[in-house]
């Protein structure tokens, strides 16, 4: 309690008062008013622009006297307890001050330009804060006992602010608001405004609310925020429409970005954080969202044109445009998705276009399509990575686009396999500007999009077999790297076969070393690659007849192998090998020819006979007719002339005769003899029917597997399960599955239920 700590003189007098005299209401209030309230109000009126009260508040003595008087009047015994009337006087005093000073001051500038009014608006609020706070300090004792003990009484602070709100604020809030919004409008139009003033003016709405319990931001919300938002919407609606009509898409985007950034600036500078969401949503809606379709899709300079520009000289600026689109539209609900859709449509269109052209041209450059697809993929992958920051929905758009067009035609799978082969072959000229690793990555990604993976896998395996057996790979490391990438994409099952192929080749090399050490006494040298059935592509083995020249050593190797690995079976396959054959054409001419093993077999025949007919060749070698035809004709070809043929025509009949050409000449000592390609060019664009056979087996196997496990299953469920099991390889059609089921019923693996027609039972 104050009285104890004060100077003796004062306390004595107040004590004396308390002990001796009861203060009357009239006297007491008179003293309070003259000593405390009035001088205080005067001081407040004179607060300068900085908001600091001159010097001090009222002198200490006056303050204490005021406080003491109030205190005494509140503790006096009834009927002299003046708590309640004092509370009333407090309110009256403030109200009087508002009416006499505040309101006139504001009214005076009401008609003035907004900035002038706002200055007074801000000043009045500052003054009020001092006024109310000061009054509360003086009348604090009321807050201690009277207010809590009464019902429905606000404490002096809240009471004061409530009075301010009712008396002053309500009257002028509209003027203030209009002034504020007007300033914002002008600022948006480009005219610089006094941001500090705006900040303080807006703060009034917020602070007033905060002083009042249960009100808080309501005032700001109702009296300013909602108008602000409405204004903003209106403003940007008009402005964006004008700009949409005037500007190209990229330019409009720049404009849009500026609007967004401006508003963000405004928020941080003077608009209350509460408005952040509403303001930005309003801005983005009007400027970006409502125009999205028109802007990106319909405009000639829209997203399609921007994407096209990413390949030209203007690529850099096109990429910036894309980044801007991403930055802006990722904040708009649904905006990102639409952009992704637009990109997907664009890529799909391009891809389909490439496929269409390739279909129609049927040209010999089989790599053109794949190269185009790889470039397309590379370009857009980079766009997704850099301009769209690797966002999932864009990755997905790219993936969907590729999956759509890449599966339009069966032959894309085959082309891709062939491309991969040429990529990994020796002397590959395929690596474009990107490195080999990068290209391989793209090939694997394209493979990932393909639905009929089994076509690609079969072809790839065949090509790999050829490369391994004929030692055509550029580098073992790249081969292994490619397999590793495929494994990531495809899983272990198929790639393990490829790895087994590698192991076979490795082991074969070791075997050959071992064999050569042991057997040094043969005229011919042999190199065998031992391939495990199952890992290598299925080729049926033609039983050719091995002539004596090579028969001995072949047998020797076979025995060598079988002693090492008993219990295995070894069969020679002569269709894929190469041989160096030394041919004595004439007494003076002896050359070494590099031929296929089939051709070797043919040549060896001439060791026994000078002239051989085609029929005899078929019989003596055991080579299948078609292959023999190719082998022989390529040697008899006028450009090659290793053999001569009678009759000397392109056609071939059984009785046509062949001889080694005694007039053969060639400057080189060792000459490679090509096996000419078949006259009928295989149509690149059809699928090998063997694939369909394979698929039938896979469907059968799946059906039996599923039925064995489930015993009983409804038709529809069976179909669904089969598709689920095979989808990683290819997508089976419902009718095909039905056909397989019918066949399995005939073979008595399954039977229909007696009563429920669409129920199948597994037959034990």
């Amino acid at each position: 309690m104050i009285k104890k700590s004060k100077s003796k003189k004062k306390s004595k007098s107040s004590k004396a008062d308390a002990e001796n005299q009861t203060i009357s209401l009239k006297d007491g209030w008179d003293r309070i008013y003259k000593l405390g309230v009035q001088p205080f109000f005067e001081r407040v009126e004179n607060v300068d622009d900085e908001g600091k009260l001159e010097q001090t508040s009222i002198p200490q003595q006056q303050y204490i006297a005021t406080y003491d008087t109030i205190f005494t009047m509140c503790i006096q015994r009834e009927p002299y307890n003046y708590s309640s009337p004092l509370y009333q006087k407090h309110s009256e005093a403030l109200t009087k001050q508002y009416k006499e000073k505040f309101i006139p001051a504001l009214s005076k500038v009401k008609g003035e330009p907004g900035v002038v009014f706002l200055k007074e608006w801000v000043k009045r609020w500052r003054c009020n804060k001092w006024a109310v706070d000061g009054m509360t300090r003086m009348f604090m004792y009321l807050d201690r006992f009277h207010v809590p003990n009464s019902e429905d009484l606000l404490n002096t602070s809240e009471q004061g602010y409530t009075l301010y709100r009712q008396t002053v604020f309500e009257q002028f809030k509209e003027t203030a608001r209009r002034a504020i919004l007007n300033c914002i409008h002008r600022e948006r139009d480009g005219e610089e405004q006094d941001r500090d003033l705006l900040r303080d003016s807006i703060a009034v709405f917020v602070e007033l609310g905060n002083k009042l319990k249960k009100v808080e931001l309501q005032i700001y919300k109702e009296d300013l925020h909602q108008y602000l938002i409405a204004e903003t919407k209106q403003y940007y609606k008009q402005k964006s429409r004008l700009q949409m009509d005037a500007l190209s898409c990229p330019d409009y985007l720049v404009f849009a970005e500026k609007c967004v950034n401006d508003e963000l600036g405004r928020l941080s500078a003077y608009i209350d954080k509460y408005s952040e969401e509403g303001l930005m949503v309003a801005t983005r809606d009007e400027v970006l969202k409502y125009h999205q379709d028109e802007l990106l899709l319909q405009k000639k300079s829209g997203i399609d044109s921007i994407l096209d520009r990413t390949v030209g000289t203007d690529a850099q600026s096109a990429r910036e445009d894309l980044s801007r689109i991403y930055r802006l539209y990722k904040e708009v609900p649904g905006g990102k998705g639409k952009v992704a859709d637009a990109i997907k449509a664009h890529v799909t269109k391009l891809g389909l276009g490439f496929i269409e052209t390739s279909k129609q041209s049927q040209d010999s450059d089989a790599h053109k399509l794949i190269t185009q697809l790889i470039d397309l993929h590379d370009r857009f992958l980079n766009i997704v990575k850099r301009q769209f920051e690797e966002e999932a929905c864009f990755h997905r758009a790219l993936k969907d686009a590729f999956e759509t067009f890449i599966n339009k035609e069966y032959y894309v799978s085959a082309l891709l396999a062939r491309y991969a082969n040429d990529l990994l072959k020796k002397g590959s000229k395929l690596t474009s500007s990107q490195s080999l690793e990068n290209t391989m990555d793209h090939v694997v990604m394209l493979y990932g999009y393909i639905r009929d993976k089994d076509i690609f896998e079969r072809d790839y395996q065949m090509y790999l077999a050829a490369r391994l057996l004929q030692n055509l790979s550029e580098s073992e490391q790249s081969e292994r790297s490619m397999i590793g990438k495929l494994k990531n994409q495809a899983g272990y099952h198929w790639t393990s076969k490829l790895e087994d192929m590698f192991k076979d080749i490795q082991r074969s090399k070791e075997l050959m070393d071992g064999f050569r050490q042991k057997h040094t006494d043969f005229e011919t040298d042999i190199n065998v690659s031992v391939c495990t059935t199952g890992a290598w592509p299925d080729v049926s083995i033609q039983p050719v007849k091995l002539p004596t020249e090579i028969g001995r050593i072949s047998e020797a190797f076979k025995n060598f192998y079988l002693t090492r690995f008993s219990g295995r079976r070894l069969k020679y396959q002569m269709d894929k090998g190469k041989a160096d054959v030394s041919v004595q054409f004439s007494p003076k001419t002896k050359k070494i020819l590099t031929v296929s093993t089939y051709q070797m077999l043919v040549l060896l025949l001439f060791n026994n006979k000078k002239t051989v007919t085609f029929e005899e060749m078929v019989e003596l070698t055991g080579i299948p007719r078609e292959d023999l035809q190719t082998a022989v004709l390529s040697m008899a070809h006028p450009k090659v002339k290793v053999m001569r043929k009678s009759p000397n025509t392109k056609e071939l009949a059984d009785d046509h005769k062949f001889q080694i050409n005694p007039n053969y000449s060639n400057p080189r000592a060792k000459i490679p003899i090509p096996t000419l390609a078949l006259a009928t060019k295989k149509n690149v664009h059809t699928v090998d029917p063997a694939i369909f056979v394979l698929r039938r087996h896979q469907m059968d196997a799946a059906i039996v597997r599923i039925m064995k496990a489930r015993k009983t299953l409804k038709h529809q469920e069976l179909v669904t399960e089969v598709i689920k099991q095979l989808i990683a390889r290819f997508k089976p059609k419902g009718t095909d599955i039905k056909k397989r089921i019918a066949s399995l019923i005939d073979l008595e693996y399954l039977e229909r239920d007696e009563n429920e027609r669409d129920l199948y039972h597994y037959k034990q």
């Binding site: 038709h715 009718t735 039905k738 019918a742 019923i745 005939d746 027609r757 669409d758």
Partner: protein, 255 residues
């Protein structure tokens, strides 16, 4: 289960038609057929061989009858003339499915031919000893085909009969078409799509349906019975592919 007096009534009815049966057999057959008298009678006549305790027909007498129909060169089979006579004696139309019904009853192993063994033992098991008995028996068999269950059995059996060889899985479509025409003609009124099916089969036998498998044979019966019009068709149903193609054919035709 019907009441005791109703049961006794039905047993009596059964025995009246199926002469020579005992009470216990009558009861057995009726029980197996949900106490439906007509059904029981049909079942009984077509499965006489299941009740060997009944009086069998005289094999000697049957062999004598057989001689009338037998082929001179090979008496183990019926001659052509013999068959025509046989059908006449039975009161059966040689052009109709009833000839097949006889084959079914005798469980003939060869299509279009009756063998002595099958003739004698088959009729003997059904308790026939003379031509009168045989005629009555055949009559019963044909009548029983109006029972849906019996007819389906008969229809399914035809496939095996015609196939002859156990190992074979299919019959030529040409043959199937003829059979459908003969056998299903009686059902024409309840199978509005039958005409269409025959037309389709004619067309398809050169290309995608050169043979008919057991599944198609059996399923088409259900299909034609159940499906009154192409609009009823549920293409997610487990009908064989041939049926799907048939429906496509009909829809094409409609256009």
């Amino acid at each position: 289960m019907p009441s005791y007096s109703v049961r006794r009534q039905r047993i009596k009815e059964f025995k009246d038609v199926c002469s020579g049966t005992s009470d216990s057999i009558a009861q057995q057959v009726l029980e197996d057929n949900s106490w439906n008298v007509q059904q029981a009678i049909n079942h009984f006549f077509n499965n006489r061989h299941l009740y060997p305790e009944l009086k069998q027909g005289s094999k000697g007498k049957l062999e004598k009858i057989w001689k009338e129909y037998a082929d001179k060169e090979d008496p183990s089979i019926m001659s052509e003339q013999g068959m025509l006579q046989f059908f006449k004696d039975c009161g059966v139309n040689p052009e109709s499915h009833e000839t097949l019904a006889i084959a079914w009853h005798l469980q003939s192993s060869e299509m279009g031919l009756f063998q002595k063994e099958e003739f004698v033992s088959g009729f003997s098991k059904s308790g026939c000893s003379d031509k009168k008995d045989i005629k009555k028996q055949i009559g019963q068999v044909c009548r029983s085909l109006s029972d849906e269950k019996q007819f389906k059995e008969f229809y399914k059996w035809i496939f095996h009969h015609v196939k002859e060889d156990e190992k074979k899985k299919t019959i030529p479509t040409e043959l199937a078409i003829q059979l459908w025409q003969i056998v299903l003609s009686t059902k024409k009124h309840s199978m509005p799509l039958l005409e269409g099916w025959l037309k389709f089969s004619e067309k398809a036998q050169a290309s995608n349906m050169q043979v008919v498998s057991r599944d198609v044979w059996e399923q088409i019966y259900d299909f034609l019975r159940e499906t009154k019009s192409v609009d009823d068709y549920d293409d997610n149903g487990a009908w064989p592919v041939a049926v799907d193609e048939f429906v496509e054919f009909l829809q094409e035709d409609k256009k």
